[in-house]
């Protein structure tokens, strides 16, 4: 097991600068990626280091329940110290055993009831079930900051919802990967590296990003925006499609020979790319998405983009500060993490750790 498993706060702080962040999102590359374990480590580290700023926790959708509602295997629970702020739905709060003081009713409704902002007055277990829409997450953060302006706001993602953790909501991201992703250390390192590349896709130059910001403001609801012409005098044109999937042909035919930037709102999947790539004039441009979490593409598709001289860019960049490896599979089998760590550290440009179990 990696030395880091001892849980030295100094290491985590030095590696990631966690103590200076205002907000953090924990994203999982797959289901059972170890997000909750990672969160528990952060909480413990925070406490051990005697940090006085409170943590403010919420999740996208549901997390922290003791049993995986899909597979039935036992899942780690979230144990918070007194003073922590929690934003969670009514029904999830009933499953929490920390003494919770209700601070605000958010008026944000989920399947598990209204999201309620509380402060833990004692240590204890909490179950997180937060909102699922970006705007709602922002308003929850605002509500929490009304009570604790200086808190570290941590957003715990849920399975297959990593897209929501982006959109400029968090200053930094911890990416969790588990042995579910691959049993071959080399493959795992490669896959993680690719995911990291996608997540950290570089931002557009400021002036171009400003043009897009202006275009999205003046064309609300338009999912496709193109910038064409001679740099720096780019013309804005838009296309009204209900989605990107199924409209690849329409989008490609709207491209002009001098279109330099194509912005597509929403998820960029292999299927959308396939449709775009089947049109020959989809070439020699920069494909822009909101942020790195919108890119759901396979390495193969990425290679095809390179062949067409299509670059990728985002409006809001994401900074991944740490990759957390979870060697435990959903069925409870625990692999030796060292070979994985070795491979990943060779390949990845960000620190990789196995924090060890923290199934409190």
């Amino acid at each position: 097991m990696d030395a880091f498993a001892a849980g030295s706060s100094i290491d985590l702080f030095q590696l990631t600068g966690l103590q200076d962040l205002q907000s953090l999102a924990i994203i999982g590359l797959s289901k059972n990626a170890g997000k909750t374990t990672c969160l528990n480590h952060i909480i413990a580290t925070w406490q051990e280091a005697g940090q006085t700023r409170p943590l403010a926790l919420t999740s996208i959708g549901r997390d922290g329940e003791s049993e995986d509602i899909l597979s039935g295997y036992e899942k780690p629970r979230i144990y918070v110290p007194a003073g922590t702020l929690i934003a969670s739905a009514q029904a999830a709060l009933q499953n929490s055993d920390a003494l919770l003081e209700i601070l605000e009713l958010s008026n944000i409704r989920t399947a598990l009831g209204e999201v309620i902002v509380c402060r833990a007055l004692s240590d204890g277990y909490v179950e997180l079930a937060g909102p699922s829409v970006t705007d709602e997450i922002s308003s929850i953060e605002r509500l929490m900051r009304q009570h604790e302006p200086d808190c570290l706001f941590i957003l715990d993602g849920a399975f297959s919802r990593r897209s929501q953790a982006g959109s400029g909501m968090s200053e930094a991201v911890f990416l969790c990967v588990s042995a579910e992703t691959s049993t071959d250390p080399e493959v795992m390192a490669e896959m993680t590296n690719f995911a990291l590349d996608m997540l950290q896709t570089p931002a557009l130059p400021e002036d171009t990003a400003n043009l897009f910001a202006q275009a999205t403001r003046t064309n609300p609801g338009k999912r496709t925006i193109m910038l064409s012409g001679k740099v720096p005098h780019l013309d804005i044109s838009t296309l009204d499609t209900p989605a990107s999937v199924g409209y690849g042909k329409d989008i490609a035919s709207a491209l002009k020979p001098d279109t330099h930037f194509l912005y597509l709102q929403g998820a960029m999947t292999d299927r959308v790319l396939e449709e775009l790539l089947s049109e020959t004039n989809f070439a020699n441009l920069t494909l822009v998405v909101e942020d790195g979490t919108r890119l759901f593409i396979k390495p193969n598709s990425y290679l095809k983009l390179r062949e067409r001289r299509v670059d990728l860019a985002v409006l809001t960049p994401i900074e991944v500060r740490l990759v957390c490896l979870n060697p435990t599979r959903a069925d409870g089998q625990c692999l030796d993490s060292q070979p994985y760590l070795d491979e990943m550290r060779k390949k990845l440009p960000v620190p990789v750790v196995d924090m060890g179990p923290r199934n409190v």
């Binding site: 007194a82 009514q90 055993d97 919770l100 004692s122």
Partner: protein
């Protein structure tokens, strides 16, 4: 509301009542609900209406004076949540959860805050019940902290359990491995005891709070009333509403300089202004005649909306208004028939004529008709309209009709007309011929697609129509009804460049018609 106001759904939208309701912005769900209930005040509830109007009148003074309590109250009201579910559960003796207690605590603190705004409440004519003792139940230590949890102060036993638990949690913080696991198991046991005691407290707390239910309900209703009255006062200031004077039942409704707030706002955006309308509507029939394009429909809507708003407890947009209280309001605008259902327009009209008449036999109605029998043959339509005027002329209801058909004078029938275009202004209008060359069969676009089949207006013509409209004097004036002026349609046709030979025929036909009427 349903039986007191009879209008078609299409006209309801046309009338703009929904937009009036939207413009009247309540802050609390209770206020919005009260507003949407659309309470109609008839003569039976005259005192309640008077009280409502007086309160709005007093609140307007505070709004105009920028009294800080207005904004303060609105902020508090906007924080009030829908309490119905929680109060029902409390009433049924169900065990409330902490969120519901928090909701009640917030509501009680809002009641307390509003209850202290003496000048505002005096103006609004509202008295809050004192619920401080109920609020104290949810803040046992009296800290004034708006947050809520089951406090240690509720029971020494709870306090004791939590002290033990707290001690364990401190140990857990230091422990690792199996020792931590053991401590966590111990904690689970103590948490179960804590849960049990908390549940006892929730039950007792619920029982104590339930004793305050009448006052809580009363104050919730007070919030709704305050919110709605305040919103109406603010709307009245925004739309220059006046306090209507409620007069005895046999007296006429008199509107001085009434305007339709929504039409006025639209015109203002276009750089034009709304011509205020004044009229006296007595019991019996009133006939509104006047030129085409004279704004008769807008006048009818304006009058109907002002009188309806009054009986819904709003200040109407008028310089002044006095009115008796009608038992029902009906507005019948001639529809084009229901194409989808294949129903004839007159068939539908006849149904409404029948219904309104039957209702008017026992109740005092305000019945407005905008060009009834529009699609009927003119000779028969004229007799129907005359019959309606004669009959309503002798009733207790107020019948107000805009029509092009000739109505003869009879007892109980009064006449108004739109002033129309001043002849002096017409003299200033330059001669005009429409773009004749474009209509001589040499159109550039000879395509026969559907869009080219639809009629297109040329810009010159549209400008001209607008110009004539701008010369129109929309004010209403009472006339004797004997010397009814022609509606001005032929004059307008002339101004829009209808060809000489056609105009000649029109004028000749009109002359012949007038001879026949005078015989």
């Amino acid at each position: 509301m349903q039986t007191s106001v009879i209008i078609s759904p299409e006209f309801l939208e046309d009338l703009g009542l929904q937009k009036v309701l939207e413009a009247c912005r309540c802050r609390s769900p209770q206020g919005a609900k009260l507003k949407n209930r659309l309470q109609f005040f008839s003569n039976d509830s005259r005192d309640a209406l008077q009280e409502e109007l007086d309160a709005i009148g007093r609140l307007i003074l505070l709004v105009r004076a920028n009294n800080p309590q207005i904004t303060e109250a609105q902020t508090s009201l906007s924080r009030l949540r829908e309490l119905k579910g929680t109060l029902t559960r409390l009433d049924k003796g169900s065990l409330l959860n902490d969120t519901e207690f928090f909701e009640l605590k917030s509501a009680l603190s809002i009641f307390d805050r509003l209850g202290k705004m003496k000048s505002l409440l005096d103006a609004a004519g509202i008295n809050f019940d004192d619920t401080k003792s109920a609020a104290a139940l949810l803040d046992p230590a009296g800290t004034g902290n708006p947050a809520f949890h089951i406090y240690n102060d509720y029971s020494p036993e709870l306090s004791e359990i939590r002290a033990q638990k707290n001690e364990l949690e401190s140990k857990i913080r230091q422990a690792t491995g199996p020792q931590r696991k053991t401590l966590l198991t111990q904690r689970a046991l103590i948490t179960a005891r804590e849960d049990g005691e908390e549940e006892n407290i929730r039950r007792q707390l619920g029982e104590k709070l339930a004793e305050w239910l009448p006052e809580i309900h009363n104050n919730t209703n007070n919030c709704a009333k305050l919110d709605f009255r305040l919103a109406k006062a603010i709307l009245a200031v925004r739309w220059n509403g006046c306090e209507p004077q409620l007069v005895e039942q046999h007296k006429p409704a008199i509107l001085q300089d009434a305007f339709h707030p929504l039409v006025a706002a639209t015109l203002e955006k276009q750089g034009a202004s709304f011509t205020p309308i004044s009229i006296e509507l007595r019991q019996g029939a009133t006939v509104l005649m006047g030129a085409n394009m004279g704004g008769k429909s807008v006048a009818l809507k304006t009058i109907f909306l002002a009188l309806l708003m009054t009986q819904l407890g709003y200040f109407p947009s008028c310089e002044s208004l006095q009115t008796p209280l009608f038992d029902f309001f009906a507005f019948e605008a001639s529809h084009e028939g229901d194409l989808n259902r294949g129903l004839s327009s007159f068939g539908l009209e006849a149904v409404q004529i029948r219904n309104h008449f039957r209702k008017s036999k026992t109740q005092k109605g305000l019945i407005l008709m905008d060009e009834p029998c529009r699609g009927t043959n003119p000779a028969e339509a004229t007799t129907i309209v005359q019959a309606l005027c004669n009959t309503y002329g002798n009733s207790d209801s107020t019948f107000f009709i805009a029509t092009h058909y000739h109505v003869k004078t009879a007892p109980g029938i009064r006449f108004y007309q739109v002033r129309g275009i001043n002849p002096d202004s017409l003299a200033e209008l330059p001669n005009y011929r429409s773009a004749a060359s474009k209509t001589d069969g040499t159109e550039e676009n000879s395509a026969t697609d559907l869009s080219s089949m639809a009629m297109n207006f040329y810009n010159d013509d549209l400008t001209r129509v607008r110009r004539i409209q701008s010369l129109m004097d929309y004010r209403l004036e009472e006339i004797d009804g004997v010397n009814q002026a022609p509606s001005g349609a032929i004059k307008i046709a002339e101004l829009l460049g209808v060809d000489e030979e056609l105009l000649h025929e029109m004028k000749a036909a009109r002359q012949e018609d007038q001879w026949q009427h005078s015989e």
